[in-house]
């Protein structure tokens, strides 16, 4: 078994890993654009591609875990908005319904007196609870999660509307916590500028801290997925629930946890989003759920469960981002930036055909 040639072993790795196909596709497309697209080969483009996926990338992690277990969550955008309002208001003590209500409950926050710890706790805690509610409705009613979250999506949007007082929240202060979650990543930017492109170049590199969080979370959840029994059970439930239960897997519990993780990550994305733009609106990130599903699918996850990876999902969202930058810079007459979704559509279908072909090779 250990005497196999390198070629056969790498071929097997390629077949057995859901990330291999999407990764190769992304590298090929990136190189293609490097060659044919003017202005593509800049640090500005590269950092732009990476920065563009920070928020969608973080929620795609949770969506991927859910999809592997055979579930969907269409209620992420209101969770992001909820997190943005809570985190934004409480971090600086904005004069808002949230701050005033929490203060009247005796919590340590007041107008003009922000509380960063409380802001972070609420920002990830409330969406985690919203995920818990999704999970509980699912296991108690047995209504498909697509429908459950289609419903809670509207309910949660209504909750956000109430909590927000139907207003846009915008803050002017810049507490250090915003820098931590999504400031400029100047350590890397300065390094690139000094050593790779030169101080006097016109190329502007702009990596942000959100990318560090994104890669960290991807690594963490990928490990959770493949190295723990929880991850093992998610695959089993999505692959063949009857078999999983027959082997004693507690499928309802694992599902509820997955929905809580998805909510937690949406909350995290809300914090990152607010840290960058210092504003949030009720309809924040509407439609991000489908972007996340697209990323997961392009990255090799199966729509009906049992297969996929967090690495792959990251590659999936990055691949779409590479395409976006490339197509925009190519400046095609019929595909300006506004018409980019058409390209995403083609990508999704093409990727799924390719990924299916790869997966069938590994299982039959």
């Amino acid at each position: 078994m250990n005497n196999d040639s390198l070629r056969i072993r790498s071929l097997r790795l390629f077949e057995n890993s859901p990330v291999a196909g999407p990764l190769l596709t992304m590298i090929a497309i990136y190189i293609l654009f490097l060659v044919i697209t003017p202005n593509f080969a800049t640090w500005r483009t590269l950092s732009g591609i990476v920065t563009a996926v920070s928020i969608s990338g973080i929620v795609t992690i949770g969506v991927t875990l859910l999809m592997i277990s055979g579930e969907f969550d269409l209620s992420l955008a209101p969770m992001i908005a909820m997190s943005g309002y809570l985190f934004g208001s409480v971090s600086v003590g904005a004069d808002s319904l949230i701050t005033n209500t929490l203060a009247s409950w005796g919590l340590p926050v007041a107008v003009g007196q922000g509380n960063v710890t409380l802001a972070i706790l609420l920002g990830v805690g409330i969406p985690t609870l919203m995920g818990l509610v999704n999970g509980l409705i699912l296991i108690w009613t047995n209504v498909p999660s697509f429908i459950v979250t289609l419903g809670t999506r509207q309910i949660y949007r209504g909750l956000v509307w109430i909590v927000a007082g139907a207003e846009l929240l915008q803050v002017l202060d810049e507490p250090i916590v915003y820098e931590v979650f999504n400031g400029r990543f100047d350590l890397l930017n300065d390094f690139v500028k000094t050593w790779l492109i030169g101080e006097d170049s016109r190329d502007r590199v702009n990596f942000r801290m959100a990318t560090v969080w994104l890669f960290g979370l991807v690594a963490l959840y990928q490990i959770l997925l493949v190295r723990t029994s929880f991850g093992n059970h998610l695959f089993a439930i999505g692959g063949n629930e009857g078999a999983a239960r027959a082997q004693g897997v507690r499928s309802t519990r694992a599902r509820v946890y997955a929905f809580m993780i998805s909510g937690f990550l949406a909350g995290f994305a809300g914090i990152v989003q607010f840290s960058q733009f210092k504003s949030v609106r009720v309809a924040e990130q509407t439609g991000i759920e489908l972007t996340a599903i697209a990323g997961a699918v392009v990255g090799g996850a199966l729509l009906n469960g049992g297969y996929g990876s967090v690495w792959g999902a990251l590659v999936g969202v990055l691949l779409i981002s590479v395409l976006r930058s490339g197509v925009i810079l190519m400046n095609f007459t019929l595909i300006p930036a506004d018409n980019f979704p058409a390209v995403v559509g083609v990508t999704i279908i093409a990727s799924v055909i390719f990924n299916n072909w790869l997966r069938n090779r590994s299982t039959s």
């Binding site: 190295r227 029994s229 929880f230 009857g242 999983a244 027959a246 004693g248 590994s362």
Partner: protein, 262 residues
């Protein structure tokens, strides 16, 4: 008095050689009587074929034994103790391993992940259950080799294996985890002749290790070579249990269809 008598009766008939003894088991679904007082006894170390036509009640009987259905009346004695089996988990805790046709394995997962599913070897790090991946892959490969199945790598996906090899994982799993009784539901129904022979070999291997096997089928040819005895079920009742050699294949076929009474 009655209770005492029953207890003495139990002790008298307590047979060290019997692994499972189902007594006068009935099962009603609404007005349908799926089982009408079946007695079914399997001895340690034997391979028992449970035969009957579609709808005869053999699946219902097995589902009562594995906790999928609870019996309407009747008694189950397992390994000398009277037991209540209310859920599949109860059956499993007793050491009854079942391999259903389509509920056995997860094709998109690797062999070792299937082998240890629900019983993973883990290191607890706080609330995190960290999988001992190499150890599981190694034990899985060794266990399968032990019953004569050579796999290239435990990392291969189950979906890549043939139907017979898939059955082997379920059988290997039962032996590895020290099951006291293995139930195979139609293990050969969708297999080629060659694959069927392999599965029959695995069943022999299980028997050699002292693991009793109940083998459900309606195919006379497949089981004739490997079973020690046959129980035939027809219309929710046991037609009878016969030792190997007592019946010809034609007799069995006639008893299954009711072309001949006992």
């Amino acid at each position: 008095m009655e209770q005492v008598a029953e207890k003495i009766g139990n002790d008298l008939f307590k047979d060290e050689q019997v692994i499972v003894d189902m007594q006068n088991v009935t099962k009603r679904f609404g007005t349908v009587e799926a089982l009408r007082g079946v007695d079914f006894q399997v001895r340690k170390g034997e391979v028992r074929a449970l035969m009957g036509d579609n709808g005869a009640g053999k699946s219902t009987l097995i589902k009562v034994l594995t906790g999928v259905h609870t019996p309407t009346s009747g008694k189950i004695i397992f390994d000398g103790e009277e037991v209540q089996i209310n859920a599949p988990a109860d059956a499993r805790a007793l050491g009854i391993e079942t391999c259903y046709q389509d509920l056995a394995l997860i094709p998109l997962m690797s062999i070792w992940r299937n082998f240890f599913l629900g019983r993973e070897l883990v290191t607890n790090i706080g609330p995190i259950k960290w999988l001992q991946r190499q150890e599981m892959a190694k034990q899985c490969q060794e266990s399968l080799l032990d019953i004569g199945i050579h796999i290239r790598s435990a990392e291969e996906k189950v979906g890549k294996m043939s139907g017979g090899e898939r059955q082997s994982i379920a059988i290997g799993r039962a032996i590895h985890f020290g099951a006291k009784l293995l139930i195979l539901d139609e293990p050969t129904s969708a297999l080629s002749v060659k694959e069927t022979n392999k599965v029959l070999d695995y069943i022999r291997a299980a028997k050699e290790r002292g693991l009793p096997v109940i083998f459900i089928t309606h195919n006379v040819n497949h089981i004739y070579q490997v079973s020690d005895s046959y129980t035939i079920i027809r219309q929710g009742q046991s037609v009878g249990t016969y030792m190997k050699g007592e019946l010809t294949q034609q007799d069995i076929a006639d008893l299954i269809t009711g072309a001949r009474e006992k």
